[in-house]
């Protein structure tokens, strides 16, 4: 497996694969890989001839005061894991390679980016869609793989691909969890021992809502209150948002009649964690 730093070089690898008639699967990541990312890579490998993974901590999607500088990085470890997962090439460009003249062109999805994480992190999704568009144009994959953990991101990317007629199939892969239910995240490494012990309460709260849904509860405000109350029992947890939104429009739901996304963001100390559940109805 090769680690490629330059756009021109990854383009050559892609062109070469294309000449041989091979299909290309792409897994864009910010690195510090965990089992969630590896699952995406294995999934890509199972359906595409060649898997390219990118590792790029994209400054454009971090706001002022967010954890861009502190975001964990470990390329050597990442490379070992990606190779095991069958990745053909890692594309790990520098910030200068990706933004040689800063950035004056942006891709923006409106409406579905104002709520949930978009409300807490203004400009975040513009940074995500812009870098993903750049990476898509560089790698030109047949299929691209995203994790369900970043539920809103997956919905935004799908919308971008559809609206802008990208010839790429977007595959969303289920959340991978630790044994106690905590959703895998590169940011989990920031949790203190006590915070780490407390963090599975997010998944427990989502499960409680799911049980109520299975029992027939359809009042979203009530379910939201149950989730907030459950998380509120943990003094280390500081809720950013808990939301129950229509799965397509991402508009807030009052009475659940179709598929919804139950999503939450909660801070434990300096660490902001997200988790979610899809109820197909």
């Amino acid at each position: 497996m090769e680690i490629v730093r330059e756009i021109a070089n990854i383009r050559k690898i892609v062109a070469n694969a294309r000449k041989q008639g091979k299909t290309i699967g792409f897994v864009p990541t910010m690195g510090f890989l965990h089992e969630g990312h590896i699952t995406l890579m294995r999934e890509a490998k199972s359906v595409c001839d060649i898997v390219i993974a990118s590792i790029f901590v994209n400054p454009l999607q971090f706001g002022a005061g967010e954890d861009y500088e502190e975001y964990p990085r470990d390329l050597d470890h990442d490379a070992a894991l990606a190779e095991q997962a069958g990745v053909h090439s890692i594309f790990a460009p520098s910030v200068l390679e990706m933004y040689p003249h800063g950035c004056s062109s942006f891709v923006e999805v409106i409406g579905i980016t104002d709520c949930l994480c978009g409300a807490s992190r203004p400009g975040h999704f513009r940074g995500v869609t812009t870098v993903v568009m750049k990476l898509f144009n560089i790698v030109q994959p047949d299929q691209a793989f995203f994790g369900q953990k970043d539920a809103q991101q997956a919905i935004v990317i799908k919308r971008m691909v559809e609206d802008l007629n990208l010839n790429i199939s977007v595959v969303v892969v289920p959340i991978v969890r630790e044994h106690d239910g905590l959703a895998m995240s590169s940011r989990n490494v920031f949790l203190s021992t006590t915070e780490r012990k407390a963090a599975p309460i997010l998944f427990q709260a989502l499960q409680e809502a799911q049980k109520l849904l299975q029992a027939g509860e359809r009042n979203a405000e009530y379910l939201r209150a149950v989730i907030c109350k459950h998380i509120g029992t943990e003094t280390l947890a500081d809720i950013d948002y808990v939301a129950i939104n229509d799965l397509t429009s991402l508009k807030e739901t009052r009475i659940i009649t179709g598929p919804v996304l139950i999503a939450l963001a909660v801070r434990f100390g300096i660490t902001r964690l997200i988790d979610n559940l899809i109820w197909e109805g």
Copy 2:
């Protein structure tokens, strides 16, 4: 030559050409073709195996009160001209085919879109970059051809292609003029007989500035004043802007030391015409 209405069908034509190892040149237009467009098509034909031209009057790039409804259309005549120019396929989608769910994803280039036509037509370039990105993703050409008449558009598209890593070479083709110097434009058809007679004053004013530049004049404010004064002698002409800007940054120039774009927009009755001149220095 085929007229293709559906995205899926033009994709098939492109995929088929690719399989045969053919290169694709793309000429995006809003139709009502004139010699300027035909020159783009011939230029494309001279360097690419296959030429695809799009004809789509893009509502997204027209502001409220602009001439979207009135924009001239004549697909039969366009098809005959394009066929003569060696175009392989015309892609002429409906608005519904291009924007089946409205539009919630946009491509925006900032900075260089605030001035010149961007100042007079807010949102215009966002509409242009968004539809061009969509068309690029549908046609996936090797080279795309734009006219120098829309100088700012060409600069904005080039910036978008570079910033977002599109694997497309953008070719800008010189302005084609009527015998009296009026830049060819689909909108010239709106001019009354007297307006049409008056309109070549735009090119004459640009030529006067060029002569002064050749004679050594470098004061942009003075040159601008000369152009405005020249156009001002024509009572039918109502100046929207006359500007002398750095060719790359599109920032206003005071003393000309490098390449500049001398651009103007002038109304004759209901018709807004643009013209420009590049001084390479």
